[in-house]
Structure formats: structure tokens, C-alpha cells
């Protein structure tokens, strides 16, 4: 019986020849990412250990991105704790450089690695053929101290992609369509593996966007076959693969889906669940108070180009705040060089520093009672972006920007 990509990467990290879905393996982690969401809790627990030590400090990457710059004395204190600990122990540390997953993709992730991140969207790393999975701070602490953890080997769902997305349709529309189809727990405990000739038509930005959102279907991880697009990205960022794994022809999948990219259309996820998806035209006319272009899902240069093209020469609607948040310093600088920031500024957008912003409902852009946000963020749960009685719609960079111009939900072909 052959192995899936997920099984192969776990076997590699466990130092064994074979494994299969349902087995529990002890693995050595290749990398451990943590951000300011919970690192202060990890440090508190670490300091209570009898003989605290770090198994391999080279593997740790700590990133301040959720509340940067800090918005209260409490946050400042938790950042200081993280900053001081990182300096004392020589941990790779980023602050104000960008959203953790974007920083990881630009600087650290390698194909074939098994990575724990103390953040649910760690599954984004599958875009480079790495097994990234989100954990809490206790699991993170255990891995940091021992270098290892245990993993239940997941079953895999296979998504065969065919064809090509049409003009004006984006990766965000594709993954929202898939989540709508399989449901918010349709991939619970499972790996989502993407392959097929349609994959070759997708850019790295598209791929990160797709893998990143798989946790919203409950997935343990997302994985994509490593091809020239992935290898070119890796090379351009000065890194080599750990291992390039491919699923065996006789690998076992609990389900296989064939997805025709040509059939995907602009999609909106309505409040309060990511799988509550409808064609964007069904939300046409819903009044908005704020629009957000950014996050680990859609804050890359490709997304800013899409937004800038839609809004060039136009204005943000009156009484609407349009937040544009590049996902990293590199994205910010590139957007500046290309003149995209000028376009957004001329249109009346608010450009923020690279961070998680309103996607996680703190730091900035939080919405009030009864307000509506359309967002390229990751979630639209009740209260996610602020007041418990507010509303979040999720959509592509194009639909979000078009809605910012119209002051109500609409698609880019109508503004």
C-alpha cells in the first residue's frame, strides 16, 4: 500500500520507513513558530519547569504580528516578555516585519518539513509541500523542550484540480467554494492534498491562500505537490528543499474530489461561518461600514495588485473605512515601488503597517455594534472582528475592493 504526502512527511520526521493513517507517531519537529497570540503563556509555563531547556533553539521562530504596534500596557508587557526571552535564548525573532505565516513562507519553510505553529493557519505551509499544523501553547512548549511531539497520522482528502480559473475569479473564491462544499468540519483531523494539472496554473500567492484557509474546513494540514512554481519561489528566497515528497499512485484517500477551476465563480462567505458561502451576486447591495484587504490569506503583493487595479482612479465610498494592510515588509516595499500605495492613498484608503489587523478582531480596525465588514481575512465568526453583534463577510481582494468603492457588497465587474 502506498503513502500519501502527509504519511511520507510524518514517516520522515519519525525516522521510519512507513506509516499509515490512524497510527500515532512520535516525530521530531523541523521548525517551531510562535506569535504574540500565546507566546507569553508558553514562557510562563516554561519558567515553571524544574529543568527548563530548549531542545534545538535553531528551530524556533518567534514573530510579533497580532498586536503590533502594541495597543495597551498589557500588550506591551507581553511583547516585552517575548522580546527579552528571545534575546536571552538566541531565538530568531521578528517584530513588525509582517504576519507570521508570510514571514515563514518568505524566510523559513522548506518542502518536506514538519512544522508546528502556535497558530491555526500554520497549514499555509503546504503551499511549499511542508506539513504545517496548528497547536496550542502547551503542545508548543512540549515540542520546544523535547524537540518532539506525537501525531495521529491523518487520513487524506484528495483534490484534483482541472482547468484554469477564469478572469476575475481568484484562489479565495476556489477555497471558499471547496469549504462550502465539504463543510466547516468536512476535513476535521484530515489532510487536504491538492494536485492535478490545474495546480500548475496557480501562483504561489494563490497556493498559500488556498492552503491557509483549509483549517476552516477543520483540516490538520494542507499539502500541495512541489513543482517548478514552488521550487522557483524557494530558489528566489535562497532556500533548498528538505525533501520533495509525492504521493504514491496506490496511496489511500478517504475521499477524492475533482474540481473544475473553470466553473468557479466569485464567492462570498456570509456571517457567521466560513462554510456559509453563496455566489457573490446573491450578496449584491448589502451595505458595508468597513472593508479590509490584508491578512495571511490575502495580503500579498498579488492581492494588492488586484485591489489597486480595481480602485485605480476611483474613490472609497463616503463613510466607509477601507483598510489596506500588506502582509509583510517585503510586500509593503514592493507595493511602494510599484506605485500601488499611491493608488490606494489617492482613493482614500487607510494603509496600515504589516500585521494581523482586524482579521483577528484586535489591534486596529475593530468594528462596532451593528456594523458590517467585508474582509479578505480568515474568519467571519460571530464577534470575530469586534462587537458580538456585528457582521463579517469574506471575499476575494477584488470583491472586497469593489465593495469599498460601492459602499455595499458588489463584484469588480460592476464598479
Amino acid at each position: 500500500m502506498g503513502m500519501t504526502m502527509a504519511e511520507k512527511i510524518i514517516a520522515l520526521a519519525a525516522g521510519i520507513e512507513k506509516t499509515k493513517a490512524g497510527d500515532i507517531e512520535t516525530v521530531t519537529l523541523d521548525r517551531l513558530m510562535s506569535n504574540d497570540g500565546t507566546t507569553h503563556l508558553t514562557i510562563d509555563m516554561y519558567n515553571k519547569l524544574k529543568n527548563p531547556h530548549i531542545a534545538d533553539v535553531e528551530k524556533l521562530v518567534w514573530i510579533v504580528d497580532h498586536n503590533i504596534p502594541s495597543d495597551s500596557p498589557k500588550t506591551a508587557a507581553s511583547h516585552k516578555k517575548m522580546r527579552d526571552f528571545a534575546a536571552e535564548h538566541g531565538i530568531t525573532y521578528y517584530e513588525g516585519e509582517g504576519v507570521c505565516h508570510q514571514i515563514m513562507m518568505e524566510n523559513h519553510v522548506r518542502p518536506g518539513e514538519l512544522i508546528f505553529g502556535a497558530d491555526s493557519h500554520t497549514c499555509a505551509y503546504g503551499a511549499l509541500g511542508a506539513f504545517g499544523t496548528g497547536v496550542g501553547c502547551t503542545d508548543y512548549l512540549y515540542a520546544m523542550v523535547t524537540g518532539t511531539s506525537w501525531l495521529l497520522v491523518p487520513e487524506s482528502l484528495k483534490f484534483n484540480l482541472h482547468g484554469k480559473l477564469r478572469e476575475g475569479v481568484y484562489a479565495r473564491d476556489l477555497i471558499l467554494t471547496i469549504i462550502g462544499r465539504i463543510g466547516a468540519n468536512g476535513a476535521n483531523y484530515k489532510a487536504m492534498e491538492f494536485c492535478g494539472e490545474g495546480l500548475a496554473t496557480l501562483s504561489m500567492a494563490d497556493r498559500i491562500s488556498i492552503c491557509n484557509l483549509c483549517v476552516e474546513a477543520g483540516a490538520k494540514t494542507a499539502l500541495m505537490e512541489v513543482d517548478d512554481v514552488a521550487l522557483d519561489y524557494l530558489k528566489a528566497h535562497g532556500r533548498e528543499p528538505k525533501a520533495i515528497v509525492k504521493s504514491d499512485p496506490d496511496a489511500v484517500y478517504s475521499e477524492t474530489y475533482d474540481i473544475d477551476l473553470n466553473e468557479i465563480e466569485p464567492i462570498v462567505a456570509k456571517p457567521h461561518f466560513v462554510d456559509n458561502v453563496v455566489p457573490a451576486k446573491e450578496c449584491e447591495g448589502v451595505k458595508i461600514d468597513e472593508a479590509f484587504l490584508g491578512s495571511c490569506n490575502n495580503g500579498r503583493i498579488e492581492d494588492l495588485r488586484v485591489g489597486a487595479e480595481v480602485i485605480k482612479g476611483k474613490k472609497v465610498a463616503e463613510r466607509v473605512r477601507f483598510l489596506v494592510v500588506p502582509a509583510s515588509r517585503a510586500v509593503y516595499e514592493q507595493a511602494m515601488k510599484e506605485g500601488l500605495l499611491d493608488i490606494f492613498l489617492d482613493a482614500g484608503a487607510i494603509i496600515m503597517n504589516p500585521n494581523c489587523s482586524v482579521c483577528w478582531g484586535a489591534c486596529q480596525g475593530v468594528i462596532g455594534e451593528g456594523e458590517t465588514l467585508i474582509s479578505t481575512g480568515t474568519r467571519n465568526f460571530k464577534g470575530r472582528a469586534g462587537h458580538k453583534d456585528s457582521f463579517v463577510y469574506l471575499a476575494s481582494a477584488a470583491t472586497v475592493t469593489a465593495s469599498a468603492i460601492a459602499g455595499k457588497i458588489t463584484t469588480a465587474d460592476r464598479v
Binding site: 466547516a184 461561518f273 478582531g361
Partner: protein, 164 residues
């Protein structure tokens, strides 16, 4: 952990996400005790004050979906909830709950068969009895029971290493 206990049921539905269990704005509070009043507040602001130590939560599918914030199972544990029985749990929440010594039980039928306020007799690894009706439940693997019984992963490690 295998001793039978009595628990009053609080009932929630499908897809209780971690932003419901504990909204982002309360994550910055200093201690989990400070966070307690805000548990489940977007959905049922009065619930945290109503839950008494020893009570249990019965929910539908996909309990705990969303963020990896460990404050979510921590705050449920701090409220004194004895266990959560759901049709299914999201995986990060599952690990985080066990790591904090919070008992989780998967059962497909209980949610539709009980109402809020019912009393249950829970025998972990064996069965739940409500209104005279029995619901068999599976036991967790031994390594997870060791963590649960110790009160969480860090405590289990200390115990294993002879520190406690």
C-alpha cells in the same frame, strides 16, 4: 477518572468556535480567572455566571473550531466544567483540552436526546445515563488518559519525571 459523577447539562449547538468560547478582546486579561465571566459571551452572555462547578456541556458537531488559543479550553476548565460531550471536536481544541486536563467525550446521539437542565450520570470510558437512557462512550487512549488524570500535559510530564 473512571468514577461515576453526576452533572447538570448546559446545551449548545454545532460549530461553537473559539471566538465564542472566549472572544479576542478578553485574551489580554491577566489571568484565566479574569477571563471567566466572558466565556461564551457572544452567544450567551449570562451562561458563564450560571455554570456551576461540576456541570457539563453537551454540544453538536465541530466544538472548538477556529483559533489555537489555549485560553479557550482553559477558561472552560476554570469554570469547573466536568466534561464536554459533543458529536465531534475540532482537532486543535481537542489537543488543547486534553493538555489542560479537560475531559472531552465524543458521542453522536446525546445532543439530540437531552435538554438543558437534565442531569447526567457520567462514567468516563463507559457510559452516560440521562433520563434512564444509556449512551455508551469510548475510552481515550492510555497516553491521553495519563495526561488527563494528571491534570494536563505539563503536570503529567512533571509526574513522569518524578518531580511531583
Amino acid at each position: 477518572m473512571s468514577e461515576t459523577f453526576k452533572a447538570k447539562i448546559w446545551k449548545l449547538d454545532d460549530d461553537i468556535d473559539t471566538d465564542i468560547v472566549l472572544p479576542t478582546e478578553y485574551l489580554a486579561l491577566k489571568t484565566v480567572e479574569d477571563m471567566k465571566p466572558y466565556a461564551f459571551s457572544p452567544l450567551r452572555p449570562e451562561l458563564a455566571a450560571q455554570i456551576k462547578p461540576g456541570d457539563m456541556i453537551v454540544a453538536g458537531k465541530n466544538f472548538g473550531c477556529g483559533s489555537s488559543r489555549e485560553q479557550a479550553p482553559e477558561v472552560v476548565k476554570a469554570l469547573g466544567v466536568s466534561c464536554i460531550v459533543a458529536q465531534s471536536f475540532a482537532r486543535i481544541f481537542f489537543r488543547n483540552a486534553i493538555n489542560n486536563g479537560l475531559l472531552l467525550i465524543e458521542n453522536p446521539d446525546l445532543h439530540d436526546a437531552v435538554k438543558e437542565g437534565d442531569e447526567a450520570l457520567v462514567t468516563p470510558g463507559e457510559k452516560i445515563v440521562v433520563n434512564g437512557k444509556e449512551f455508551p462512550i469510548a475510552s481515550l487512549p492510555e497516553n491521553l488518559m495519563e495526561i488527563l488524570n494528571a491534570g494536563g500535559l505539563v503536570k503529567a510530564m512533571r509526574k513522569r519525571n518524578g518531580l511531583d
